[in-house]
Every structure is written in structure tokens, then in C-alpha cells.
């Protein structure tokens, strides 16, 4: 039995559908009180999310937030997710009781395309006419709009200003208490009679073999004719859904070819047939319901004026690089105070334990392993939060969509397109959501290349490594009196990763065969003031993840590392470094010959091994090693320990600016994050690509560090 045909006691299913960037997730969050990510660019939601609510009539309701789509004819993977789900609904699987069609009121024409498709499904549709705060009051007759579309209701609202949600909920209650809708009326499209005649064999197949309503049969016939991707949704329909002729796909395929030929004779293009018919209907509706179409948008001119400067051919990139520089400089400047506070707090905690606890193995483990290792990482929390704060502000304001637009031309040259820009920019915070966001890319080849180069974008986990080494070895001087050298080095690391990512994208595009055509039509969202609640939520989420990582995997690694760095206990007769003779030391010594040409010693070697779990583990590893090595009962300052570490044989500093640069460049390229490779395996559905990624990134990291270190030495550094 189909779920929707069950008695009313069952959970009421509400599906949220709408164009990308129409505010679906914002409405989902308002309905469910959940806090999923919302932003001001298309394609933020790339997977289905669900939440439970209790309606005022006491009935439980499940709200499903689907990725944004412009139509039910899939053009990309995230749109395919929606199209597949809708195909299931048509066959009474997971069918929602009501669809909330989220519509951006400031762009009614384009948004109504999907709504008209949804009305064909035979499921009650309630329109959430969102973003009404951007439309002059009285310009849209929503009562007439409801009538024209033949839907349950149109609720004007603003998810940003949080009004209209109560009315939406009331409408949902009404629908939950009403009976099924009438499906007998015909599709309101004005289909020419000759087209209707040739369309008949396809509609007949749907009606007879699939038992579709007349309206749905015509809608689906138009869809499968427009795009082969829509037809392919039926490739497994015979086996996936009960009672369907297993040969239906072959039959549809054959009638489609026949139809396309006949349509060609009538001088109609099959690819735009559905769009032409629907937009004719939409134009008619909008002329009736919208008072003054040309003056609906209040912000367009403002946004366009800003775009003339921010996306200018030459000025645009200069502004972008300047903004990024300011952000990275702010990371250093604003975080300095809070970092000192956390550092002082951690040291006070360590000293308190040293004073109050009896000496012994557990005390050493807590002070040197746990506080030394995890504390060294927690110090970098303010920097991560500040970076995420600024990146989220850029996303929410709509600026990142402009960056994607500016990068489009350059990306086309390297075998990608602007659609890859947003996932790549997401990679600056973390590669994992970036890799998932690549689902918005329609071409498999371009998506794969984006996934492969994405870990080269310097994520926030690299920030502790960069800033530790920059703070310790790069002089805190300025160039020209106002450009900080430390900030500049940090920006260089980000630019280096990005630049090499593009070069490799171009190389990969020469070797990976083309599978599927690509297209890039990007909607420019209007500039808007970020929703600060959402920005702080993003910052909070990232901070929580960082602390969770520190409290779990980094803590565990620090504890295990403390053991292997402390045992076996070296006899008193052995002089010098105790850790060098431990298991960890032996492990580091084992890899030392391989990494010596890069300027790295055994301590860094241990860090390179442990940081495969997560890049920031390098910092906690070094902190633990120096803490264990330290024979005094005191807590070690890692930055000072690195600068003051000397080679016992030569008496010279063990690390210098050249080794620091070599190590930073190694981290720009190195494959040091197991979670990234796990997600690549999931997203590509194979082991081949994560293994390839580890190999190419490791070779690149080694080669680059080798060149930097050996080149530096050759130049006399």
C-alpha cells in the first residue's frame, strides 16, 4: 500500500521544493526549528534533509527539504536527486501529502516554471511566496495567483524577516484535514493540436501502462521528450515499482525517437517544447497577477551598480585579492588577543595539575600528552572562527556568487566552469562540504576534476600549521609600512594552493574523458545584508567541529603518541634526547632518510605520519613531543620550543625559515586528511580516485618541498 493512502493518523509528509536560492532551507529551519546551513548563493542544499514537527491540530508532520531545482527535468546531479524523488512520488512511494512550492517573489517568472510542473503531479500544492520583503507591497495579487495556478493556497511571506510562517502552518493544517484533490482536470498548457496528435502514443503509454492521470501523462510525455535525462529516470521503473511493465523503458525510448522525428517535420524543437509551452502560460499568469513587472525588484539596480565595480574585468580580481588579504590579515590581528588568553588558560591548567597532583605516569600523561597536545591545537580556535566568520559573510552577502562568475572564464580555460567555483571556495573552510557541493556540477568529468583538485584549496585545518610556523619563523615586519609580511606569507600559501589546483585541473582535463555535456547558467543573487543569526550559527558549527576533533581524534592520538614517545624509558647512561630513543623516535628515524632532502627531521617525520588523521594533528604531535622531551616540570610553549631547538651535534638551530617554508609548502599540497579521502570514496563510488588523489598530492608535496629546500640551500640560505 502506498504510504499516502494510509489513514490520517500517520505522519503527515510535507515536501519543500523550489528553485535554488529561493529560501527553502530558511523556511525548513523556521518550520522545524532546526539550524541547517542557509546562504546567499544557489546550490547550498545538495542532499535531502528531514525534520519532524507537531502541527497545531496534534498531527505529527515530517518536513523534507530537497535540493533546489529549476525544473523537474534534471540538468545536474542535485536536480537528478529531486527528479528521482518525484518519480517515486508519482508511483506512490514516499509520496508527500502536500508540496510547499517555495517561490522567490522577486523573480516570479522563473520560479513559476517549477510550480506549474508540480501542479501536474496530483499532490496538493501550497505556494510559499517568499522574499516578499524585496517586493513592493500590492504588486502581486496572490489570491488571483492561487486561482490561476489552481493550487491550494498562496502564502506571502519572508523567511528572512520571519513573517508568514504561522499562516503557512495554518494552511498545512487545512490540507492535512482535507480530502484528496481532484485530478481529473486537464493540463492548462496551450498545446497545438498537431503536437497533441503526435504526442498521443507517449501519453497513451503513460496512461495505459503506468495508470497516470491524463494531466500527468501529458506532463511526463513533454518532459521525457525534452531531455533524455528525464527519460532515464524510467530506466529502472519496471523493476523498482510494482505492477509496471518491465519493458516500459524500451517502449518509451522508441516512441520518443519517433516523436522527435515527427516534431522536426512540424518545425518544433523537442528540447524547448515544454519550456515554450510553460512560459507562454506563465507570461499569461504574470500579466494578470503582477501589477508592474518592471518595477518589482527594488534591489536590482543597486546590485547591478555594485556589480559594475565588483565584477569589473580588472578591478574585480584586484578587489577579490584585496578582500582575501584583509581577511587573512584579520585572522592574525584579531585572533592574537583571544589566542593569548586561551594559551594562558591552558598553561595555568597545566601548572595547577603539576602543583596539585602527585608526580607519576598519569600526571605526565595529562600534562605532556593531553594538555600539551590538545591545548596546542585549541589555541588556534579564534583564528578558525574568524576565518569562517568572514567567509560566511562573503557567502551570505552574495559576493561569492560574483567570484564564481569572475572565475568562470579562467575555469573554462582549465577545463572547468564557474559552477566549480563555489565548491572550490567552500574548500577554504573544509574540503568535505566542498566535495559534497560539487553535486551541483552536471558533467561527470568536471565534477571529478573539481573533487580531485579541491583538497588543494587550503582548508582551515591547515591554518594552525601555517600560523604556528609563520608566527615562529617569519619576522613580524611590514612591507611598505603597511603590508604585514606574516599576512602576505599566509595569503601566498592560499594563492599557491589555488593556482596549482587550476593548473592540475587543466592537466586532468586532458586525460579524463568527457562524459556528459556541461552548461553553466548561474543566477546572480542580489546583494543583501547577511542574516547574522545564520552567520554566527555557521561559526558556532565550525568551532564545535574543531573542538570535537580536538576532544576526540586529536586527544586519542596525543595519548597514544605520549606513550610511544615516553617508552621504552631510556637508561640514564644515554645522553641527549629521551624521545629520540623511544618508539616514536625510532619511527621518526625510520622515515627521516626519506624526508631529509626536504629539510625535515625525525620529529617532523612523526608529525607527518600522525597528521594523516587530520592536518592540525601535526601541531599537537610536535607539542606532545616537546612536552615529553622537556625534563623540567613545566608546560612547553610550542612556538618557542621550535625556535630554540638546537641540533646537539652542531649546536645550530634545528629549524629555520627555510625549513618552515618547506614544511608549509608541503602542507599546501600534502594528502593529510583521512576524512577527505573517505568522502571522495563515497562520492565517486570507487577506491580508484581517492588512491589517485593520495598519490598525486604526496608526489606534488614532496617535489615542491624538495625544490624549495634544496633551492634555498643552493641560494645560500
Amino acid at each position: 500500500m502506498a504510504p499516502n493512502s494510509s489513514p490520517k493518523k500517520e505522519v503527515f509528509r510535507i515536501a519543500l521544493l523550489g528553485n535554488p536560492n529561493s529560501g527553502k532551507t530558511a523556511i525548513f529551519n523556521l518550520l522545524t526549528k532546526l539550524r541547517h546551513k542557509v546562504s546567499n548563493y544557489p546550490g547550498v542544499t545538495v542532499e535531502q534533509k528531514t525534520g519532524l514537527i507537531r502541527l497545531k491540530n496534534g498531527r505529527m508532520a515530517e518536513v523534507i527539504d530537497l535540493p533546489g531545482t529549476y525544473s523537474l527535468t534534471p540538468e545536474s546531479l542535485d536536480e537528478k536527486i529531486v527528479a528521482e524523488e518525484v518519480t517515486k512520488w508519482i508511483h506512490n512511494i514516499n509520496k508527500p501529502d502536500v508540496i510547499i512550492s517555495v517561490v522567490d517573489a522577486s523573480n516570479l517568472s522563473r520560479n513559476l516554471y517549477l510550480t506549474t510542473q508540480l501542479t501536474d503531479l496530483g499532490i496538493p500544492v501550497v505556494m510559499a511566496l517568499n522574499m516578499m520583503d524585496r517586493v513592493k507591497s500590492g504588486t502581486i495579487d496572490h489570491h488571483l495567483l492561487k486561482e490561476k495556478l489552481g493550487i491550494q493556497s498562496v502564502i506571502p511571506m519572508s523567511a528572512k524577516q520571519k513573517w508568514g510562517v504561522d499562516q503557512l502552518l495554518e494552511q498545512l493544517i487545512d490540507v492535512s484535514e482535507s480530502s484528496a484533490i481532484d485530478q481529473s482536470f486537464m493540463i492548462p498548457l496551450n498545446i497545438p493540436s498537431q503536437v497533441s496528435e503526435v504526442l498521443e502514443p507517449v501519453t497513451d503509454l503513460f496512461r495505459e501502462h503506468m495508470r497516470y492521470s491524463p494531466r500527468l501523462a501529458v506532463a511526463q510525455a513533454l518532459r521525457i521528450i525534452t531531455r533524455k535525462s528525464a527519460l532515464e529516470l524510467y530506466s529502472n521503473v519496471g523493476t523498482d515499482f510494482e505492477g509496471i511493465d518491465p519493458t516500459i523503458f524500451e517502449k518509451l525510448l522508441s516512441v520518443r525517437e519517433n516523436f522527435i522525428q515527427k516534431l522536426g517535420i512540424l518545425n518544433y524543437s523537442h528540447r524547448i517544447l515544454e519550456a515554450t509551452l510553460r512560459y507562454a502560460l506563465i507570461d499569461q499568469i504574470i500579466n494578470d497577477v503582477q501589477a508592474d513587472r518592471t518595477k518589482v525588484l527594488n534591489e536590482v539596480t543597486r546590485s547591478e551598480r555594485l556589480d559594475r565595480i565588483l565584477t569589473h574585468k580588472w578591478l574585480g580580481p584586484v578587489i577579490f585579492i584585496s578582500i582575501m588579504y584583509l581577511i587573512f590579515q584579520s585572522v592574525f590581528t584579531f585572533a592574537a588577543g583571544p589566542m593569548d588568553w586561551i594559551d594562558a588558560l591552558i598553561h595555568r591548567l597545566g601548572e595547577t595539575i603539576l602543583k596539585t597532583m602527585e608526580s607519576g605516569m598519569l600526571r605526565d600523561l595529562i600534562v605532556d600528552g593531553v594538555i600539551g597536545g590538545v591545548g596546542a591545537i585549541l589555541v588556534f580556535l579564534p583564528q578558525i572562527l574568524i576565518l569562517v566568520f568572514f567567509l560566511t559573510i562573503l557567502e551570505d552577502s552574495g559576493y561569492m556568487a560574483r567570484v564564481a562568475f569572475m572565475l568562470d572564464k579562467m575555469m573554462t580555460k582549465v577545463g572547468l566552469h564557474g559552477r566549480s567555483a563555489l565548491p572550490l571556495i567552500s574548500g577554504y573552510a573544509c574540503a568535505i562540504p566542498g566535495i559534497m557541493a560539487s553535486r551541483t556540477i552536471d558533467s561527470w568529468k568536471e565534477r571529478l576534476i573539481t573533487i580531485l583538485i579541491l583538497p588543494l584549496m587550503s582548508c582551515s585545518a591547515r591554518l594552525p600549521v601555517y600560523t604556528l610556523l609563520i608566527g615562529a619563523f617569519i619576522p613580524a615586519t611590514t612591507i611598505g609600512g603597511f603590508i604585514s609580511l606574516q599576512g602576505l606569507v599566509l595569503v601566498f600559501m592560499y594563492i599557491l594552493g589555488t593556482g596549482v589546483a587550476f593548473i592540475l585541473g587543466w592537466i586532468f582535463s586532458k586525460f579524463i574523458p568527457v562524459q556528459g555535456k556541461s552548461s553553466f547558467v548561474m543566477e546572480m543573487p542580489p546583494y543583501r545584508f547577511p542574516i547574522m543569526g545564520s552567520v554566527f550559527h555557521q561559526v558556532f558549527t565550525r568551532g564545535k567541529l574543531f573542538i570535537k576533533n580536538a576532544g576526540q581524534i586529536i586527544l586519542a592520538i596525543s595519548i597514544v603518541l605520549w606513550f610511544i614517545a615516553s617508552f621504552p624509558k631510556s637508561p640514564d647512561s644515554i645522553n641527549g634526547n629521551r624521545v629520540e630513543h623511544s618508539y616514536a623516535g625510532k619511527l621518526g628515524k625510520l622515515v627521516e632518510p626519506i624526508i631529509e632532502p626536504l629539510g625535515f627531521d625525525w620529529k617532523i617525520g612523526i608529525g607527518l605520519i600522525t597528521s594523516f588523521a587530520a592536518r592540525e594533528v601535526m601541531v599537537s604531535t610536535l607539542a606532545t613531543l616537546y612536552s615529553v622531551e622537556n625534563e623540567d616540570d613545566s608546560v612547553v610553549h610550542l612556538s618557542e620550543a621550535l625556535v630554540n631547538d638546537t641540533d646537539p651535534d652542531t649546536g645550530k638551530p634545528r629549524y629555520n625559515i627555510l625549513i618552515a617554508l618547506s614544511l608549509m609548502i608541503f602542507y599546501v599540497f600534502a594528502a593529510q586528511c583521512m576524512a577527505t579521502f573517505a568522502i571522495v570514496k563515497v562520492e565517486t563510488n570507487s577506491w580508484k580516485w581517492p588512491i589517485f588523489m593520495i598519490c598525486y598530492m604526496s608526489i606534488l608535496a614532496y617535489g615542491s618541498s624538495f625544490l624549495v629546500y634544496q633551492g634555498g640551500r643552493w641560494l645560500g640560505y
Partner: protein, 55 residues
């Protein structure tokens, strides 16, 4: 009795074992977790990439 581990050593050893088990488990789950579908975290994976649709 000198060789008997004191309480600090016992707790430290337990913590070490727990940490080691956690790391091994984490490694194992990262790479053997069932492939989640892009549709939802709990759904089984579909053949999204086997079926490289021409859109």
C-alpha cells in the same frame, strides 16, 4: 611489590588502550562506512556515478 603498577600507571594504561581502540575504530569506520546516498545520510547509495547520464 615494587613491580606492581601504581594507580596512576593503571589509569594511564587504561586511557592509552581506550585511545588506541578509538583510533583503530575511527580508521575502520571512516573507510568501511556504508556508502551513504547523496539523497540522505541513511539511504543506501544509488548508482549515481555508474550511470553517467547525459543531461
Amino acid at each position: 611489590m615494587e613491580k606492581m603498577m601504581n594507580i596512576q600507571e593503571v589509569i594511564a594504561a587504561i586511557l592509552g588502550i581506550i585511545a588506541l581502540i578509538f583510533i583503530v575504530k575511527k580508521l575502520f569506520t571512516e573507510f568501511t562506512r556504508p556508502q551513504s546516498s547523496s539523497k540522505c545520510d541513511k539511504c543506501p547509495v544509488t548508482k549515481e556515478f555508474d550511470n553517467k547520464t547525459e543531461f
